[in-house]
């Protein structure tokens, strides 16, 4: 009981007796809790804008798409394009790369997925086995792997040694997942849109 409360309690006790005293006390308790609750909600509502401002801004989020012309892409060639600021591999695979990828469809995989499933376009239609479109960031900690290195004929990430096969599936090393497929659709026979 603080000083003020004592004084009020004394004043009321003389005139009305104990019940009044309890009522006064519980009313103050209520006001105290209510004020606290409003202050807490208010504080949370004030803090939120200061947290949310760090999220990707509208212009960054604005669905950016990238169109890629595949006509000049030769067999066994790979180009790197950017989509939403992130690098994407567009690789025209050789028949032997495709065969190797399909042969391992049911091998011991850390993140099992068939080569066919990795070619599906964003609209659900089947893609073309020769054109593989991958988000380049290694699923471990985001480095960019290089092609034609490692024991599986695909990509090797030099950062911590993750090895991917010719379908971009993780085969060895610390990365937990296959290289992500960029969402793409064929616009014409020789051009695609990513995003």
């Amino acid at each position: 009981m603080d000083i003020q409360e004592t004084r009020v309690a004394e004043a009321t006790a003389g005139a009305h007796g104990a019940p009044e005293q309890d009522e006064g006390k519980s009313r103050r308790d209520f006001i105290f809790v209510a004020t606290g609750a409003v202050a807490a909600v208010g504080a949370a509502m004030t803090v939120w804008p200061f947290i949310d401002q760090m999220n990707p801004a509208a212009d960054t989020k604005a669905l950016s798409t990238t169109e890629v012309d595949l006509s000049a892409l030769q067999e066994g060639q790979q180009i790197v394009v950017t989509w939403q600021g992130k690098p994407v591999f567009v690789r025209r695979r050789t028949p032997s790369e495709i065969a190797a990828a399909q042969r391992d469809d049911f091998a011991q995989l850390k993140d099992p997925e068939t080569d066919m499933a990795r070619l599906v376009q964003a609209n659900g239609e089947a893609g073309k086995p020769e054109t593989l479109i991958l988000q380049a960031a290694c699923t471990h900690l985001g480095c960019i792997p290089t092609f034609a290195e490692g024991a599986y004929g695909g990509w090797l990430c030099a950062c911590h040694g993750s090895q991917y096969d010719t379908s971009g599936r993780i085969r060895r090393g610390p990365a937990p997942k296959n290289l992500l497929i960029a969402p793409y659709v064929y616009l014409t026979d020789t051009s695609i849109r990513i995003g």
Binding site: I51, M54, N55, P56, A57, T60, V80, T82, Q84, G85, K86, P87, A99, Q102, R103, D105, F106, T114, A136, H140, L141, G142, C143, I144, P145, C157, A158, C159, H160, G161, G173, P174, A175, P176
Partner: protein
Amino acid sequence: MSGPSTYVPQTGFTRWLDARLPIVRLAHDSFVAYPTPRNLNYWYTFGAILSMMLVVQIITGVVLAMHYVASTGVHTGGYSSIAFASVQRIDRDVPYGWLIQNIHSVGASMFFIAVYVHMFRGLYYGSYKAPREVLWILGCLIYLLMVATAFLGYTLPWGQMSFWGATVITNLLGAVPVVGESIKNWLMGGFSIDNPTLNRFFSLHYLLPFVIAGVTVLHVWALHVTGQNNPAGVPVKSAEDTVPFTPYATMKDAFAVVLFMLMFAAFVFFLPDALGHTDNYIPANPLVTPAHIVPEWYLLPFYAILRAIDFNVGPIDSKLGGVILMFAAIAVLFVLPWLDTSSVRSMRYRPIARICFVIFVVVSIALGWAGAQNPSLVLNPVEYRADLNWAQGGALRVAEVQVSDPGQMDAAIEASTKELTDAGASYTYVARESGTRATVSGLVGGEMQTQTVSAHSTDELEEAVATAKQGVGAPIVEVARHTPFEFTVTRLAQLLTAYYFAFFLIILPLLGLRETPGRVPDTIAKAVLSRQPKTAGAEA
């Protein structure tokens, strides 16, 4: 510890001020009359060195911020980075910019050298034990803030290491289950490290040093409440065990600061880039990762711990496991006061703990070394061997296997293989063409042959195998590669990480319960100085 104030204002003005804001009294009691143990050695001067380094970083940093531009520029095919160019401009065009930039970038390393010495000192002399727990925890907090500040600062020049270091570290947060990805994008302000990231990193890099300064004030306050520990770990018993801060500690600290600055200057003027990475002189390129990314030297031990976990533990995958352990390596420092059960402070009087401590220092340095190496580097001399098996003579039979459902593949192959063995094949070989097609070859008759090749690296082995195969010329040659025991940097890092944690979680808690401490000489344990010379002589 400081006792009643001994400050006596001398002039009219100081008397007037003392009655209104006793700031001179505070300074006098804290840095002039403040009693310090007589037996402090030079390991105790690193606090002063750290204070100096913080001031140096703040002053040079504020100056750099006058010329630095936090902008990545536009990405048009090549990469033109304004931030990178602005640091180059500071180095080349701004008057004395080269000096101030070098002081700041080398200063970060010097700051960490000092803080590591300071922390190891605290570990050795048991400065974290009661009543100095809060003092120690505040120190750990400062260290954590320093790590964050240095990481943020390192991204600012926007070189290759800046960019990829930032990428790897922000991706660590992606390891957090469920919310990891959102936290990552929240931190980066986008879907990759880009201009929004650079801007906020600059803002925070400017802010945190002042937070450090604030926590440092609390750190020194806590120090002045409990008083300094000393190399003997025995609390001072009487006024005679202490000397006033000024001139004794002031002079000793000043001398140490000068020596430290000599080393600092040597780096600034002659080796400004010795502690950094040449890759950071290449402007950031989001499309190409440098072949070998490493953090700055002062974070290497933690990087080694992060990479040491290359296996999954139950639901925790290797990536999350590494992240947890890396943060745990710092978190364990915060609870150290309650892990060490020994009531003896100084390791001078703990013979076994002292050995464990020395090993701990070596382990920490070795972790730093491991963090800088390629994780799959093999440290032991190994010989890679492969056996080539083939048959001489005999008849080859080939069976095609084709199924419609990939699930039946294994059964079909097995059936086909069995058929061939039943037909007398002594050796079978399966070549899978896809999930639904395979050929099974079998050799009937003939004599099995074996040849072993060996080499000192896997690449050489593959070459040797290829040559040997050509020499053999048989239709089917099966190659059995033997994996020798490879002691890689990762394995080493695992052992070192195990010791790092064992030191805190097993050695210190158990040792304190079992060890017999060495004898503290009476000259130290008793307040000899306040006794009659006769008694002291009799004891000696």
